[in-house]
């Protein structure tokens, strides 16, 4: 179905190949998961299959690709679109029209399909993806998961036999992500579609895949084969596999369904967490307090009587489904949205009447899209801008002090070697670090991060987790808004669940995360009778029978 021989591709203006010496055979009807570190060439590989690379991107391609008997380099993307459907990462940015049904029909109108056939085709796609009830809805009124289903529907409208998906769940909460993945699996099983999907959060999807492609670092080729075999050879593994590997179980389990392979040989001797982050922070100083906060946007009540405290030296993970009000809460705290009732208190002082800049000198706030912060020519300049914003008239001495502060911050975020680099040229993880640097250079005592693991691979996530722990130990209070259950399990001192604008639960992560159906880490699912949340907890508490 897809045959790739010695594929090497270099983007225009780059002196490094994005992918090199790729040899791959994908069989018809298979479900292939493509993994690799950020920048390893996953998206490029997928785009080579439908001809977007090099037709859309330009660049130099060598080697051979054959897809359904066609060479995408010789055939145009227009021809390839009949064979290969493509679903992109960001659901919102891939639509042309404003209504579900029209969006799916638009591709068919473009090929002048007869109205009767078109109607049947649209109906069929809507039914296949359970979108019948949404057919007349505006796309911008749909949830992220629903939008991604519509995007899959539009990709299927030309009846392709191959479906490529580039991190389709990276912006979705766990429920929506699971829902989308189940539909993709259903398409694979019922229609026999060949699926090629790239994904960072392997734990979500590895159990569906029958083929795993790992792109080595620095474009050094691929390893390809059965997931069970390949997973033993790579460093990007889900927690349960990590645990299995650490316990020496061969082959290591891939999903919760295979938990028996661990539990049959090991027994629990200590149910406590090895790294209990709780540390009774209630004794420590309250940095941020939210009292009976109610926020209405238009006619909608987005936050209802929210009460929350953030203590010095703790990481509070705020979780909840898409649209539950998490970002609104953060924006209200920094003063972008005015509350209708209740109050926000910063070190005991009400923020009402305080300017955003004044609040942000004490709270470092990293919004969801770090790109919106970056505009300077170099990383060092980017950090300097924040300082000069807060202190517009600096004398020579202050300027020298500011430069020193920039160097210290660069060290703290691990970018001292990139200080002259153009921020937007950096990897996703590095760009995020620049943005964190830009908001923390004023040494705020509180840090608020909104979905910081979007698009980050396991290594970048580990690095973020370490940095958060360092900050926590230094006495900073961190409010972390995330869908990433495993990150919350790893770093959170406390967890709060926000749903429909209300705080439903708040407390010890091992209690909250284990009691939540949606936000349960793999290890907690595996050992529900314990307090464990991470592979490290389980390793300390298990003993061989």
């Amino acid at each position: 179905m897809i045959s790739i021989n010695n594929l090497t591709f270099t983007y225009p203006g780059s002196n490094q190949a994005a992918v090199r010496d790729i040899n791959l055979e994908i069989t018809k009807g298979s479900f292939t998961l493509v993994v690799g570190a950020s920048g390893s060439g996953k998206s490029t590989l997928l785009r080579c299959v439908n001809g977007l690379v090099p037709h859309f991107s330009g660049g130099i391609l060598s080697g051979e690709i054959i897809v359904n008997g066609l060479n995408p380099v010789e055939a145009s993307p227009k021809i390839m679109s009949r064979h290969v459907g493509f679903v992109f990462q960001d659901p919102e940015s891939q639509f042309i029209l404003d209504q579900v049904e029209d969006e799916i029909a638009f591709t068919l109108e473009n090929i002048a399909m007869q109205p009767e056939a078109m109607h049947a085709k649209v109906g069929e796609i809507l039914e296949l993806l359970d979108l019948q009830n949404l057919r007349n809805r505006r796309i911008d009124s749909l949830s992220g998961g629903e939008q991604q289903r519509v995007a899959i529907g539009t990709a299927l409208s030309l009846e392709p036999s191959i479906l490529l998906l580039d991190e389709p769940t990276s912006q979705l909460d766990p429920i929506s992500a699971q829902e989308v993945l189940l539909y993709i699996k259903r398409l694979n099983e019922t229609l026999g579609l060949t699926i090629l999907i790239s994904e960072h959060r392997i734990e979500r999807i590895i159990s569906f895949a029958d083929n795993l492609v790992y792109l080595k670092k620095d474009a050094a080729g691929v390893i390809n084969g059965a997931p069970r075999k390949i997973i033993q050879m790579i460093d990007l593994v889900p927690p349960i596999t990590k645990l299995g590997m650490a316990l020496g179980i061969k082959p290591a389990p891939l999903s919760i369904e295979e938990k028996g392979r661990i539990t049959q040989d090991y027994k629990i001797h200590d149910i406590q967490r090895a790294s209990n982050q709780m540390r009774e922070n209630f004794e420590s100083k309250i940095c941020l307090e939210i009292q009976n906060l109610q926020v209405e946007l238009g006619k909608n009540i987005v936050l209802r009587q929210v009460n929350l405290t953030l203590h010095q030296g703790e990481i509070l993970a705020l979780m909840g489904p898409n649209g539950s009000g998490k970002t609104t809460l953060l924006r209200t705290i920094v003063g972008f949205i005015r509350q209708n009732e209740g109050g926000v208190y910063l070190f005991g002082k009400s923020t009402s009447g305080m300017k955003v800049a004044e609040i942000c000198r004490q709270i470092g706030y990293l919004p969801q899209n770090p790109n919106s912060l970056l505009f300077s020519d170099s990383v060092a300049e980017e950090l300097m801008v924040t300082l000069s914003n807060h202190h517009p008239s600096m004398d020579n001495q202050a300027l020298e002090k500011a430069r020193l502060e920039v160097l210290n911050t660069l060290k703290r975020i691990g970018l001292q070697n990139q200080q002259l680099a153009y921020p937007r040229d950096l990897s996703v993880g590095q760009r995020q670090r620049v943005a964190i640097g830009a908001v923390t250079i004023t040494s705020p005592r509180i840090l608020m991060l909104d979905e910081p693991t979007r698009g980050l691979d396991y290594a970048a996530k580990d690095s973020l987790a370490k940095r958060l722990e360092e900050w926590r130990q230094a006495g900073m209070a961190v409010l972390l808004v995330t869908h990433d259950v495993e990150l919350a399990a790893l770093v959170a001192s406390r967890v709060s669940i926000l749903d429909e604008g209300k705080i439903f639960a708040c407390g010890d992560p091992s209690k909250i995360l284990r009691s939540s159906e949606t936000f349960t880490p793999q290890i907690a699912e595996l050992f529900p009778q314990t307090d464990w949340l991470t592979a490290q907890d389980a390793l300390s508490g298990l003993r061989k029978i």
Partner: protein
């Protein structure tokens, strides 16, 4: 979104509204027209709110508020700038450049009238924009300009995203203590917006390419069409130049007509080449008919020279001394004809009636 009227009916209504607004400066008639336009907008907004309660971008802002804002600022601006009029309200010191001198009642009144005209135009466009979905806008563009139609639809869907992006960037920079003090302070706002906009445009272009929207290359007829269009325009221009010379006026009209025919023929042949089908078929209803008759009536009243109708009240000028505008009941009643699109249909479930799927 399902418009209650045929797309062409909305186009006729919009055109008639614009013509009528441009034809009069009588504040009473303009007030009545504004009132009818607000009614039509409210009716459309209520229906859309009901239909899409959870949509994020259907109703951007209230037309009443925006009208008050425009009229107020137009009055202040004109009042301060204009030096005409015989009824001074107060005097600004002469040493203030551009503004020093009398502020007159007539100047303020003229500003109010201009504000009413501007508000009317804006509300008419807002209503059509609110009511017509992107697909209807695409349909309005001739098939020969199909790529333009796609660009239009992208622009329509791109705008709300850009607005959101502007807010996002503004907030992100405010977090870093950014304030706009001088020209260079716009850079942190403009740069991410430009780069982000380009990235999104590239992303959408990539999506469209992946969905098979790439253009067909190297078709010989396109060259012929281009030549046809160039020659058509050339004949049109030459004809117009000939018409400037009294002796060559007839030749000029013939040449221009030939140029026009050539342009239309070329567009028609190009349009025939663009293969495209429609998922929804638009139909005409009695309400469409009423709206069109209403538009024809109001246009006739405002534009045609009826002997039995004194149309002097349509014109109004507050200078040099303000007077009460004249009023004609027939013209006032005709102004209400623009309200017909606000009429609710008896069968409320028939919102889809004139945008039925092609095979229904």
């Amino acid at each position: 979104m399902n418009p209650t009227l045929n797309t062409w009916t909305w186009v006729i209504w919009l055109s008639s509204t614009l013509v009528v607004i441009w034809s009069t400066r009588n504040p009473i008639y303009l007030g009545l027209i504004l009132l009818t336009l607000i009614c039509v907008w409210l009716s459309a907004a209520t229906r859309i709110n009901k239909q899409y309660p959870d949509s994020r971008s259907t109703i951007p802002f209230s037309p009443v508020r925006i009208s008050v804002f425009i009229i107020f600022f137009s009055a202040i601006f004109n009042g301060l700038i204009s030096r005409f009029g015989n009824t001074p309200l107060f005097y600004l010191p002469e040493w203030i450049p551009f503004l020093g001198g009398p502020v007159t009642l007539e100047g303020l009144a003229f500003g109010v009238i201009n504000g009413m005209v501007l508000s009317g135009i804006l509300i008419a466009f807002m209503t059509v924009n609110l009511t017509l979905p992107a697909r209807s806008l695409i349909r309005l563009i001739p098939r020969a300009f199909y790529p333009l139609a796609v660009v239009t639809s992208i622009a329509v869907t791109f705008l709300p995203n850009t607005t959101r992006q502007v807010d996002e960037i503004r907030e992100s920079q405010a977090i870093r203590g950014h304030r706009v003090r001088g020209l260079k302070d716009w850079l942190p706002l403009i740069m991410p917006l430009l780069i982000g906009g380009l990235e999104r445009a590239m992303g959408l272009a990539e999506t469209m390419t992946a969905r098979g929207f790439a253009g067909d290359e190297g078709k010989p007829l396109w060259t012929r069409s281009r030549v046809g269009l160039v020659f058509g325009l050339l004949f049109l221009l030459t004809g117009w130049l000939f018409q400037l010379i009294p002796a060559l006026q007839v030749v000029g009209i013939i040449t221009s007509s030939f140029g026009l025919c050539l342009i239309f023929y070329t567009l028609w042949t190009v349009g025939k080449r663009v293969q495209r089908s429609h998922y929804r078929r638009e139909t005409w209803t009695y309400l469409d008919m009423f709206v069109i008759i209403g538009c024809a009536l109001i246009l006739s009243i405002y534009l045609l020279p009826f002997l039995w109708l004194d149309k002097s009240s349509i014109a109004y000028n507050p200078y040099p001394i303000i007077t009460l505008p004249q009023f004609d009941i027939l013209i006032a009643l005709a102004s209400f004809m623009l309200v017909i699109p606000a009429i609710k249909k008896s069968n409320s479930n028939s919102d889809l009636h004139n945008q039925i799927r092609s095979d229904d």
